[in-house]
Symmetry: C2
Subunit: 295 residues, 2 copies
């Protein structure tokens, strides 16, 4: 069960991430673009990736300011991807976090530039101050984030998703798509949080295993929520996967088996954390949170 201590940790972290992003996002010329960047990034979101980065930082004894910085970098990449995914040429969605999407509130050209600029800002944020003791490690962190965002990561998963509409994917193909589309950036959040402190190669391998399981679990639960929840609860358009005839874990396995799969991934994630003892308590709570969430 998720206890009060965890709930207040989540709320405190979400609040701190919101403040950190508000401080990072520019507030200067060109005002309209910067307004739109703030509109698309601030004021909501579960901040799952920053929470995971913070929880992973507890494993490696990471410096709080460094973890916040990499959290924001990852969240900026996530925010950019939502703005571009919502565009008419992609999912053509009008609602996000209970508000009109960026291209509805502003216009398409601005939304395009908002996404482009949020991506650049992520790399500015992760490079402009020291977030690891060794600058060579920090360069590896930049590379990890770039790879996770790019054509072999998130954007590549999006491309596979586009190609799959109206077509029957099998389970390995669906998994391959989701590992890229959401898994890689979740994995990056976790590894980047840990890289801010001290972590050895064996621990890193276990954390990587954890990250892959929890990333996939996140997506399976997303598919279940999309099928079972209302638009009001989600704060974004519900049921759009089946409307767009997109393959999901639910469409492929049915709700019952999808829920079993989420439980299996939960177990696998927990096993990967066994060697960490108390240090992984927040990551365990995050794993429960991701699998049990209702939104």
């Amino acid at each position: 069960m998720l206890n009060d201590n965890f709930q207040s940790w989540v709320h405190a972290r979400q609040h701190a991430v919101e403040n950190a992003l508000a401080g990072i996002l520019p507030n200067s010329v060109p005002f309209r673009l910067h307004d739109a960047m703030r509109y698309s990034t601030l004021g909501g979101g579960k901040r799952v990736r920053p929470l995971l980065a913070h929880a992973a930082g507890e494993i490696s004894g990471a410096d709080a300011e460094s973890v916040m910085r990499v959290s924001c970098a990852v969240e900026l990449i996530h925010a950019y991807s939502l703005v571009h995914d919502d565009l008419p040429c992609m999912d053509d969605d009008v609602l996000r976090r209970g508000k009109p999407t960026c291209h509805v509130e502003y216009d398409e050209a601005t939304a395009l530039l908002v996404g482009d600029s949020l991506q650049s800002l992520a790399f500015e944020v992760i490079s402009e101050r020291a977030v690891a003791k060794d600058p060579a490690v920090q360069l590896e962190m930049v590379r990890l984030l770039a790879h996770a965002a790019g054509s072999r990561g998130m954007a590549g998963g999006q491309a596979i998703d586009l190609d799959s509409v109206g077509r029957q994917l099998d389970l390995p193909e669906l998994e391959n798509m989701h590992i890229r589309k959401t898994g890689e950036l979740i994995r990056a959040a976790i590894l980047l949080g840990a890289y801010c402190g001290e972590i050895d190669n064996e621990e890193l391998a276990n954390l990587d295993h954890f990250a892959k399981s929890v990333g996939l679990a996140f997506q399976v639960v997303d598919d279940i929520l999309d099928a079972e929840s209302s638009t009001a609860t989600l704060g974004k358009t519900a049921g759009k996967d089946s409307k767009h005839n997109k393959p999901t874990y639910v469409s492929l396995l049915g709700v019952k088996q999808a829920k079993e799969m989420a439980q299996d991934l939960h177990r696998s994630a927990m096993e990967a954390l066994e060697g960490f003892g108390e240090r992984a308590e927040r990551l365990r709570q995050m794993t429960d949170f991701i699998v049990q969430r209702q939104f």
Copy 2:
């Protein structure tokens, strides 16, 4: 006058950049996305930014492989910006480098992901191997590229450009727009090339002054060419600035004064190189090339 030695240096560099980009661009799953990325990046382009990076590298005795790597990173940012600029919600252009634009050859969603992925790839390329002796310098190079690409650089200039359509800008406003829209990335190319070798702060300041003059000169000449050339010569749609009622140096100053401005910037750029002696010969030739080019 541009001599044969310079012409063959340009052709050799252009050819080498093409090969380097071909080696960097992925050729794996998802194939359609990667095809479209190659389509949009390879097979042409003047490669002005890589040429400037290589010329600047001669000032600081930079390692050839490192300069090639940062050249490719800058060119990937440039290529991404062209793909997104050509989209229907931006310039809505159908022709680029004498070929159909990416969204015409593929589709809009793919072109969106191509731009997004090329930007990520740029940051992967500039971080994955050592390009400076000191990794802390390399982190500063990442930051410089990210800042030049983002909302206070190239994408911000694009946003100002959007807001200016059909409106009268004065000369300082037009200059501010172009410093961001094209100047910042040209400046980044030059400084990144130099950072691959050894350069002191005074030299860096002179090079920065040079970079700002040559970046603006590039844009002034672009405006003159857009007004005076044919589509066939340019390989992209000519006369589109006046068609879209966009403010340009030509619309603001007239052709004659715009040409004088290009000459003034040429002179100012050359002055900034005076202290470098022979080491700046390629940069001087590049300056002539940029101001005298016909395409």
